[in-house]
Amino acid sequence: VSHRLLLVLAALLAFPLVGLATIVGHQEYLRASAPVITVALRGVDPRDLLRGHYLVGDLAWNWAPDGATAKQPAHGRICLTQTTGSDRLSARFMPIVETPPQGSCTAVLAGWYTPGVGGFGAGFTPNGVGGDYQRQLRFYVPQAQAQRLETLMRERPGALAVDLAVLPDETAVIKGLRVDGVPFNR
């Protein structure tokens, strides 16, 4: 084997290591620097096949009175604003063609909107959360605690919430889970 080929091989073997280390570093950087919002979780149906390992849920946004009037599923953005007298951010959906008003939103997230059906309120899955086609949030939890958390989510709406790091490109990553406002510790 030639010396040059061995050098090339060494570089190529380092490539996946560097690639994965970059992903880890990037995620650490995002979690350290991005602003964080807390959104309540609500149950979804059907449950996931990997139930017991992943908490499957949907984000329960605090919609403004005129915030979720769209009748069709669509790509778009939500503008999150702080309202007086409430510690929860208020959400308003805008179709993708609309530009969020400058400076008036505490945070803006792009994603997929679904109108409310029956007693199930409107939904919005930010890009970066819920996968490309699943449109469901999956949070890895210890198996021993999965059932308790799932029951809690179903029977006491608002008890579970997630911290979302809002990135500059209007996507979100899950930073952590909260139970009754307290960060969930594995």
């Binding site: 084997v1 091989l9 490539f15 690639g19 994965l20 970066g128 490309d132």
Partner: protein, 397 residues
């Protein structure tokens, strides 16, 4: 022992004398491996591995994320070092095994990072990232057929895991509009399944250009070609119909373009005396696929029997062509496979045409006679392709 039985058989037939039989028997005894002990040791090693995995799995929640990631990176560094060391020393199987383990560990690392950081994305993105990070070192470090096939399977799994975005892309290209222009799953399924074959043939062809990995490229190409043959045969076999009027011409243009690319790669990388063989099979395969897709597109081609006959005729003609190529190249095994496939298809024709108990009985009798006749013809042809008898070899030497 099986070898002893064959030695007695060959000695009785006069192919070898008793002295040669004794020498062979002695040599086999001297080189015999304690397979039972090897198997026991292997089972022990597997048990240890599974035990370690079970212990780690049971305590997975207790292991802090940084430790999981740290161990994963250390293992990757160790394996990467092993690949490099084995490559520098020329230890073929150590290098291949370490490279395959590293290949698997990169995927495990991606899954681990996804779990630790709660990353939410479709599985195909992780698979594409995996292939993107691993293919370069696999291409340089590995040479064996095994590694090539493992990589090919990984590529195929990635292709099918990306089914949704590929379907959307295909629909966008065909209809010139956004995703979801037409929703019929069969044309998409048939096209995406078939497209994988020319793409992998092209990969195998290009891989053959590197002399050290020629056998690996040849294996990828052969498996891909076989996949294409099976996919085209399936398209022309099943009458699924179609509810949407998709653009067959645009679909055909994509497939023909991919086939032409693959045929060129296979032709350019060939060093045997018949460089046209793979392009010819690819061309015939694409033609059969096109006929099958045309039948899917028209959905209702006059009387049902006409479509059944057409499908069967195209199928049989295709496999007869493959049989002719196999006989031309003296490949007895493949010739036997082709004859068997044709026989089974003709038997299915009988069942497709039956109605009532009498007709069923007649169909079974007719199909049976046909199969026996085909087997007789196939046997005759296969015998003609038999290698020269030992006497002839001896006479020539």
């Amino acid at each position: 022992m099986i070898a002893e039985r064959y030695l007695r058989r060959w000695t009785t037939a006069g192919l070898i004398d008793a002295a040669a039989a004794a020498r062979i028997s002695e040599w086999e005894r001297a080189h015999a491996r304690p397979l039972g002990l090897w198997a026991m040791a292997g089972i022990g090693a597997i048990a240890i591995g599974l035990g370690v995995m079970a212990v780690v799995g049971a305590n997975w929640e207790e292991i802090p994320p940084w430790l999981k990631l740290g161990v994963c990176f250390v293992l990757q560094i160790v394996l990467a070092g092993a690949v490099w060391h084995a490559a520098s020393r020329g230890w073929v199987w150590t290098r291949e095994l370490a490279a395959l383990l590293l290949f698997a560990l990169v995927l495990a690392g991606i899954a681990l990072i996804g779990q630790v950081y709660q990353l939410q994305s479709a599985p195909w993105r992780a698979m594409v990232l995996w292939l993107g990070l691993s293919t370069p070192f696999m291409a340089v470090a590995t040479r064996t057929v095994l590694s090539g096939i493992v990589w090919g399977v990984a590529a195929a799994v990635t292709w099918f895991s990306a089914w949704d975005p590929l379907s959307d892309a295909l629909r966008t290209v065909i209809e010139g509009a956004g995703p979801g222009s037409w929703y019929d799953a069969w044309p998409v399924w048939y096209t995406l399944t078939f497209l994988l074959a020319p793409l992998m043939v092209a990969v195998g062809g290009l891989r053959r250009l590197w002399p050290g990995a020629r056998g690996q490229g040849q294996a990828i190409l052969a498996v891909a070609l076989l996949g294409g043959v099976v996919a085209a045969s399936a398209v022309v076999s099943f009458d699924v119909g179609s509810h949407d009027r998709f653009s067959l011409l645009r679909l055909a243009a994509i497939v023909v373009l991919a086939t032409a690319l693959a045929a060129w790669a296979a032709f350019a990388s060939s060093d045997d005396s018949q460089p046209w063989r793979v392009p010819a099979i690819l061309g015939a395969t694409t033609l059969v696929w096109l006929i099958g897709m045309s039948l899917v597109r028209v959905a209702d081609l006059g009387p049902h029997s006409l479509e059944l006959t057409l499908r069967a005729a195209v199928f049989v003609a295709f496999w007869a062509f493959l049989a002719w190529l196999a006989s031309r190249d003296g490949r007895r095994g493949w010739l036997a496979v082709c004859v068997t496939v044709i026989g089974l298809r003709l038997l299915i024709v009988y069942f497709e045409a039956i109605g009532g108990l009498t007709a069923t009985g007649l169909a079974l009798i007719g199909g049976g006679v046909l199969l026996i006749a085909l087997a007789a013809v196939g046997w005759t042809v296969v015998r003609r392709l038999a290698p020269p008898a030992p006497a002839a070899v001896g006479a020539g030497s």
